[in-house]
Symmetry: C2
């Protein structure tokens, strides 16, 4: 106890860079709470593929460092400090993804994996240079918004493709899953940020959704469609670069 308190005091002063696991926890908590909401121990554990017990321990330490607000048995929330740290990591991650994709020709199904490792090692200077080199992108290759240097994020909400009615159309704004296989599949269907599409029909009882993309027509399942976010056709929401 005495030691934990001392450590917290030291790190608070020292401002030493956060460790890799710590950044991962903060990112996970941010993702679960969408920036501000609470995150349950089990959810964090699942997202990080760790035992819940490990999370309890770490969460206490992060709270000691002032990164989390933590009440035993009641989950955690990011503090302002934690939120800023999470956004720094998120910015790194997404800038790196965008850079890998645009400057180095990485396919969109592999950028996540690579960025996951680089985000902890890249300096702010590097990230800024990357961003500058590709024209200060505002979204990553999956359409996720890139936080600005000072921690602002576009929080526009889009409609899941799964929720559109037959006859409606729009433009893909974002794909909210990093699974490589899924991304490759969507890529084959040309479903990626910027693609215009319209709903032809929706089979009942959670059945597949049939849609038109360019001249092609095909059906996809609901769960897949839930990961594809759509901006209304006339909306300026389709942000490239």
């Amino acid at each position: 106890m005495a030691r934990a308190a001392k450590t917290a005091a030291v790190t608070a002063k020292t401002k030493q860079p956060l460790t890799e696991p710590v950044e991962d926890y903060l990112k996970a908590i941010y993702a679960i709470g969408k920036g501000s909401g609470p995150a349950a121990t089990n959810e964090i554990a699942e997202r990080l593929a760790l035992a819940p017990a490990s999370v309890s321990g770490m969460v206490r330490r992060l709270a000691d460092q002032g990164l989390l607000a933590y009440e035993r048995y009641h989950g955690v929330k990011l503090t302002e400090k934690g939120r800023r740290a999470a956004l720094r990591t998120l910015r790194r991650h997404r800038v790196i993804e965008a850079y890998l994709s645009r400057a180095l020709g990485y396919p969109w199904d592999r950028v996540h994996h690579e960025a996951e490792r680089l985000e902890h090692a890249a300096s702010d200077e590097l990230v800024d240079r990357m961003a500058a080199a590709i024209g200060e992108p505002i979204v990553d290759p999956h359409g996720a918004p890139i936080p600005t240097r000072d921690g602002a994020v576009d929080e526009t909400e889009y409609t899941p493709l799964a929720d559109l009615a037959a006859g409606e159309s729009g433009v893909v704004a974002r794909v909210t899953d990093e699974d490589a296989e899924m991304l490759r599949y969507l890529g084959e269907l040309s479903i990626r940020p910027g693609t215009r599409l319209s709903i032809k029909s929706r089979a009942p009882f959670d059945g597949p959704i049939t849609l038109t993309v360019g001249k092609k027509e095909f059906s996809i399942g609901r769960s897949l469609a839930a990961h594809v976010l759509i901006a209304p056709a006339r909306d300026r929401g389709v942000r490239r670069r």
Copy 2:
């Protein structure tokens, strides 16, 4: 003991990626032994800024993993496996340096620091893409040779500027120090790979060396000159790209 043996057996099979500290040890040992020679515990410790006792421990583990040949009280040498691992890391490091310099405009005095962190996180694919993007460089921004994918390194030896006689001239092939201040200073003097220069005079008793670079003339100390390697003027040793 039994446990150590078991761990070694497992990691030997598993072929899991080496940890960051392990890669750093191998790189240091490679650098000290110039690829094949022996490295003393204290030298390794100094280079990595660790206590010698820590090195003793780690070195034993690396030997258990078959990366080093180790005889107590007599230093270590890389095994073939260790050498290959060291060269992989070295290639990463130097490709990254070259990429940062050429693709992202990093000044040569800062590439080392950044590469030091990225080399452990970058995948082989990324490194290969970087290399391809800047035209498969064969030296890094300091003129150090980049090992090939299959572990070959150019081992050409150059003459330290400090050893040239008055009247001789040549082209800077390499600067063998990563100290940022030193690099900035050399940069101001235009002393960098590719620069042609000639020795005007050498003051006696380890005194300064006066040289001509383009139209400029100035003197530098012996210890600095020892870090500047020169290729004979007509030699093809000045490798750019």
